[in-house]
Amino acid sequence: MTTIVLLSLLGLITLITGLFTIKRYILPIVVSGLLVVFAIHTSSISIINENGPMFNNMMKFDQFSILFSGLILLLTVLIVFQTQKFEGETDIPLPELLTLFLFAITGALIMVSYTHLVMLFLGIETLSICLYVLAGSRRSELSSNEAAMKYFLMGAFASGFLLFGITLIYGATGSFHLAMISAQIQNPAIANSPMLIAGILMVLIALAFKVGAVPFHFWTPDVYEGSPTLVTSFMATVVKTAGFAAFFRLFFLAFSHTPPMWNQTLWVICALTMTLGNITAIYQNQVKRMMAYSGIAHTGYMLMAILALNQVAVSGILFYATAYALATIALFAVFITLQKNYKLDSIESFNGFAKKNPFAAFVVAASLCSLAGIPPLAGFFGKFYIFSLALKQQNFWLVIIAIINSCISVYYYFRIIVAMYMKKAMDEQTIEIDRMSYLVLIICMLASLVLGLFPDLILSLNA
């Protein structure tokens, strides 16, 4: 809770500093603030076990929430690092932009620690509203407008389902508390109630929308493309992580006793998501769209962990989300610079990049390999873990679909690598990347490698 309070305070402070002309200090304030929050947050790990449910069962800061909150905070730091160069990309001033980021992750933190459906609803909405604004933050750009509009309309539509679903679940079980719901569901009369079934499915649909699963993924490519790249990066990483955490938490804490009903549906969604995501990504020429589809595909992989739905799967999602986020952030960090340079969204902007900036190109290549699941990078271990979760559940066909999809994904990830290393550049100039981005790249790179080699660093956290 301290974390959430501090974070909202930090948001307020940022907003207020915006009033004064001390813009130069804003970024350091936010970054150091986030780091302080993170430090305080981690120090609370030691007292997890004493933390019971808090505030009338509204939230519970258990291991799960601590881990995911930590991840979200760190990823946000990586993204906030890059806001400096991002100024001017949006029509929103930096302080407000940062405030929105901070409020968004406040929502995200709520999403990973709720034990009450109202908190889930509030968390999702806080996050979403910030994102609607962020997506439209290039106000004069039509694409940004369109992204905001699409995201907003569809998001609100999905919220309707979420609310209706929550209502139905409440109707069936008489409670908003996850633990109570779980207890009620043990009663077969309630478990078989059509209200409950419809409720769970509608919540599932709403959450599937948030994480971008087929057939509720349609917003993703358009919104990713239209939004400012940094926001895309944020959406693809932090938001998706929070979405999965919320998804998993809900189903793990509340619905784990009713698998036959929803997990067939989720199975199909999962298979469709990876397949459609990967297949569509192949033909994309726009980097951001491609990454959006790749994100959809990764959603599919992560859904496999939700299908497993046990304590071990937490590590799976956590690890996978980390690996995926690190690689994605690194890729987008480079792409922002390229985009600035060439005013071009297509893969061609990567042409010959290896000659222009070997280090950055190397990081991008490594990130792509990580995404493609090639050892010894973190992405591989994530896949390994998820596959073993699925195999433990005897989900053979899903794993085979996943494998074939992994192969397909290699194709489009390697298109960028091919462009960087084997295509002729459009011009001769070298491309410099600012220092903050270098820092981000180095961190992402090292983290990917270290986590790939020593996955215990994360896995052991969820003991």
Binding site: M149, A198, F218, Q284, I408
Partner: protein
Amino acid sequence: MNQLIIFILLLPFLGFIINGLGAKKISRNLAGIIGSGTVLASFILSVVAFNGILQGSLPSSPVSLFTWIEAGNLRIPFSFLVDRLSVLMMMIITGVGFLIHVYSIGYMKEDEGFGKYFSYLNLFTFSMLLLVMGSNFVVMFIGWEGVGLCSYLLIGFWFKNNAYNNAASKAFIMNRIGDLGFLLGIFLIYHTFGTLEYSAVFEKAKMLPSGDSTLLWITLFLFIGATGKSAQIPLYTWLPDAMAGPTPVSALIHAATMVTAGIYMIVRSNIMFTLAPFTMGIISIVGLLTALTAALIAISQTDIKKVLAYSTVSQLGYMFLALGVGGYSAAMFHLMTHAFFKALLFLGAGSVIHAMSGEQDIRNMGGLKKYTPITFITFFTACLAISGIPPFSGFFSKDEILAHVYASNPILWIFAVIGAMMTAFYMFRLLYLVFYRDFKGSDKQLSHLHESPYVMTIPLIVLAILSFAGGFINIPESLGGTAAFKHYLDPILEASNQMHSSINELSHQAEYVLMAISICVVVLSILFARQKYYVRGEEPAMEKENLPMMVRLTRNKFYIDEIYEALVVKPIHLFGDFLLRVIEKLGIDRLVNGIGNSVIFSSKNARLLQTGNTGFYLFAMVFGIIIILLFNLIR
């Protein structure tokens, strides 16, 4: 004693290494001396070993160097066996080989690849020795393939000429086909007997009943191997082409030694063959067919070496015929005498070619008698020997074969005699065309005509003496001899002889009659040749003229090469082409690329789902929701 055996083998190998590595640095004379010297030393050691065996001082158990291959219960030692049979072969190989080495010093004097040539010759001798000395089938196989390699190297010795290279490849590949048969035979032997050592295998084979089907297959496989190496139908066509190499090579490889490997192998494993009568039948028929076909072809050939080559094939056919009827010692005996006179013939031909500055077409020769007297005399000796005129060596060996054949099957004998008749005819045809009447070559060639140097003629003389006298070691008992050679081999053939005693059924009178008939036939055919080519002076027709059907057929070797080309080589190539173009490119590649392309194609279409229209997206979402709810709520 062991060291001695190993030295027999190692010396030629040493020569190969020295000449091979120092091909550029060692002077010609030295290379020649090393090359021949090592073989001579081997020969002397072989004679010592031979002596040792006669004395009984040489143990006849295998000498093992080291374990070569070991896997599971398969254990193949690198070991050698010197017994009566192998020492005989060793002496022939090193003896005749030495003479040919010496001859080569003169013959190859001008050649730039002199050192290389000698190293190859030594390698060949080494391989051949390995073949005969091995104490198990695998070591024999090493030598077996080794001689194949050497023949490849030596046939293609003048590698700038592509025809020669083709001949070399052909020889190797034809041999390889046979080798596969041999190899399968080896596998089956191992499969059946669990070992590959001669002594153990034969000991176990003895226990099997006659006509055993496993033995049938083993022997058939081995025989396939033999047809390749010993140029029998259907794998004989490489041998005539192999005349592309330097002439001494033809003498060494394709007359005296390498081609005898098949005969050696069958004699070595005689017990298995004796117990497989069906295979024996096949061998005799194949042998006879080969003998007749090759003789027919030889009659109309115009290249001096081709005539000799076909004659070799034909004579090998005789040997196989002998083997087929169980006359192992007769075959070995003929092998030996044949080594003498065929080497002599080839070397003589080499001398002729040398004199003619490389000309090989007999239609351009004639009257060489007065220019190259030594060559003529030695060549004449050889002709008499091969035709089987008593008391030349060929007479005794051929007659023994004929006697065996007659004892086995008189009809086969009739054909065999016809073959002998043809042999005499084409040999004397050759003799008359080359050495008699007038010189028909160009003036330039005429001015160069000369007798070869001593280094070449001395081997000829030695071989002539051997060709003449070689038969005396096996004068049959019917002629008052002791048949020493036959008895010498008895220990090797002991088991087979117990089963095959047909030769003894033939009375001395019958033998006399047979001898008389064959001599008459041969003399008649010689006279006919003399009449035709000396008295009447007929000449082989030139290519362009309209030849009678039979001549055309034989001149063109019954078109066997063309038939093989059309029936085997072309189809295989076409099939390979088909595999590449259809199966590989259109089938497998298409399939794999097709899968890839179909993914891309579906991507191309799947992305169209993303219409950009929010209304459509909402529709799609709702459809998804409807489907999910329908499936779960309405059951």
